[in-house]
């Protein structure tokens, strides 16, 4: 094992061509991955849940969003039971609508992951754009953006997400609330989380801006947008991706929290958080499976994505630790 470390350590001594550098980087990550059983388990859990969410329509016995497929007569079937009425098998039981909990979890994590990824991408894009502008242009734009960032940082992001959610809903007619819930959620979570990307990108941009190659590019008269997108942007992406890996776990948790609070996904289109909110009502009446399984699913998802994010951050950027 120790010898492996040595060989990977000595590779950069001889200047490798870019493709080999990439393989070296990859092998380093792979090496670190192999050494941590917790990370391996987290990866497997994450991949399983991703796959389950992605292929939900093919795996799930029913589409829980389609009321026509629900058998009301099968309501509250316990787990691992075949219904006497319809002959349907309920792996994880069914809820008050006769909705198969297993299917609901698959479709629910689909929504949770979709919102999580989209919100992170939104925050990342917005934060990077604003950070580039603040760092590269400076002046009043920088001052304005950073002031807004400061004010927003004063508040926890879940509170920001709640507020943004409330404001957007205020502008929309009530009838549209359920339909656009998913977009509103993505925007609210994304808007609540752009600041850290903007700060990281601004700092990195200011560092890059001072470097000679950027000065040289300016001297030869390259237009600003080419300098920005071809030279600076690639160099500031690393911290952004590192923040993004952690951000995904946070966004998933934020979505679940909002949905749990009843201001996220509606019960007709439940995400994991909505399922837990609905299931909470049955905690005292004995139908424990309606709460337990979505809860465990969210727990596994949040925990393993978080662990993976932590680990990736350490591998990609040991300095942030």
């Amino acid at each position: 094992m120790n010898q492996d470390v040595k060989t990977t350590d000595t590779v950069p001594v001889a200047p490798p061509p870019p493709s080999r550098l990439r393989t070296f980087l990859a092998s380093d990550i792979v090496y670190s991955w192999q050494r941590q059983p917790v990370v391996i388990i987290a990866t497997l859990v994450t991949l399983t849940m991703f796959a389950g969410a992605l292929f939900a329509p093919w795996i799930a016995p029913q589409n829980p969003f389609d009321p026509r497929q629900l058998e009301l007569i099968d309501a509250f079937t316990p787990p691992l039971t075949t219904s006497d009425f319809t002959g349907n098998f309920y792996l994880l039981g069914s809820d008050s609508q006769g909705r198969d909990v297993f299917s609901a979890i698959l479709y629910g994590s689909r929504i949770s992951l979709l919102v999580g990824f989209a919100a992170v991408l939104f925050a990342l894009a917005l934060g990077t754009a604003l950070g580039l502008m603040a760092g590269f242009r400076g002046g009043w734009r920088d001052a304005l953006i950073m002031r807004i960032a400061d004010v927003q940082l004063t508040f926890p992001s879940i509170l920001m997400a709640l507020l943004i959610f409330g404001v957007i809903r205020g502008f929309l007619p009530r009838s549209m609330h359920a339909e656009v819930a998913i977009i509103v959620l993505i925007v609210a979570i994304g808007l609540s989380d752009w600041v850290q990307y903007a700060r990281a990108v601004r700092g990195a941009t200011m560092v890059e801006k001072g470097k000679e190659y950027v000065q040289a590019a300016r001297v030869i008269g390259l237009p600003d947008h080419r300098i920005l997108f071809q030279h600076i942007l690639p160099n500031v992406m690393r911290p952004v991706l590192v923040i993004g890996t952690i951000g995904l776990a946070l966004a998933i948790i934020a979505e679940a929290t909002l949905s749990f609070l009843g201001v996220g996904m509606p019960a007709t289109q439940p995400s994991l958080g909505t399922l837990i909110r609905v299931g909470q009502d049955y905690m005292f009446s004995g139908e424990w499976w309606i709460l337990l399984f979505p809860g465990v699913a969210l727990l596994l998802l949040a925990l393993s994505v978080n662990l993976l994010g932590d680990w990736l951050r350490d591998v990609l950027n040991p300095k942030l630790r």
């Binding site: 004063t154 409330g166 679940a256 749990f260 609070l261 009843g262 201001v263 709460l291 727990l299 925990l303």
Partner: protein, 325 residues
Amino acid sequence: MLAFLIQRVLQAIFVMFVVALISFSLFHYVGDPVLNMLGQEATEADRAALRAQLGLDQPVVVQFWQFVINAAQFEFGISYRSARSVSDLILERLPATLELAIISAIFAVVMGIVLGIYTAIQRGSWLSKFIMTASLIGVSLPTFLIGILLIYLFAVELGWLPAFGRGQVVDLGWWNTGLLTASGLRSLILPAITLGLFQLTLIMRLVRAEMLEVLRTDYIKFARARGLSKRVVNLRHALKNTLIPVITIIGLQLGTIIAFAIITETVFQWPGVGALFITAVRFVDVPVMAAYLMMIALVFVVINLVVDLLYYAVDPRLRVQGGGK
């Protein structure tokens, strides 16, 4: 030093100004307050009258100024949903939230510091490793899931503690407290743990990291070389130096506790301001949202200022700036 404080106060005022602007925009642009208050059936004349009464016919700047003045007097108008004064709604629910937040904060700070010190000093012990692993899980889990787990375990399965509500409350006239009855105290345990757990793990990890840093410094080594006992070195010298940077974060975390109370209050059906706010968001009850926003902003700004002052009081390097030779 004074310059620093003035700068901080100015920054606080700026934050409050921005928040007031947002709250005001909510009022002004989200929905139609007159429509919301009078309903669809009111006549045009009634609407115009109310509009004039509310000052909505004034220029925007004047309206904003009026809003700020009202806010300074804790006057936020009438809730669209319950048709009651927003300030009354908030005031009657504030004690529940504050009691929960303060107890959670004490729990989080005390346990966080104690566990942080323990895991720093006994770095190699299995108990430390266990606590660190558990804290990683604690940080990764959503607060509401922890709350539900606690309810399931201690209320449903074991039946030791109440699952929701505030228990029996004593009305002191200006304050209603759950701290004076057994059922009130029992009802407080699970929500307080739920709310405090996340901050506890954060504080613990922070104290641990900072303490490990301090334990590596020369003055700790010199303190040991002077023959001071382990206890004195760890708990007198190292702890004081550890806590100074930690104060800032802890202070900011306290503000977060009040914000996170929203989630805990929903899980435990705790009759506090957070639950009120969630209902307001759900039903787009703008006056309540605006009032809550202003209140939370004020709490955060005040905490920030107090943290700065505390920092200044604890660290002699700041206190006697320029006093040396």
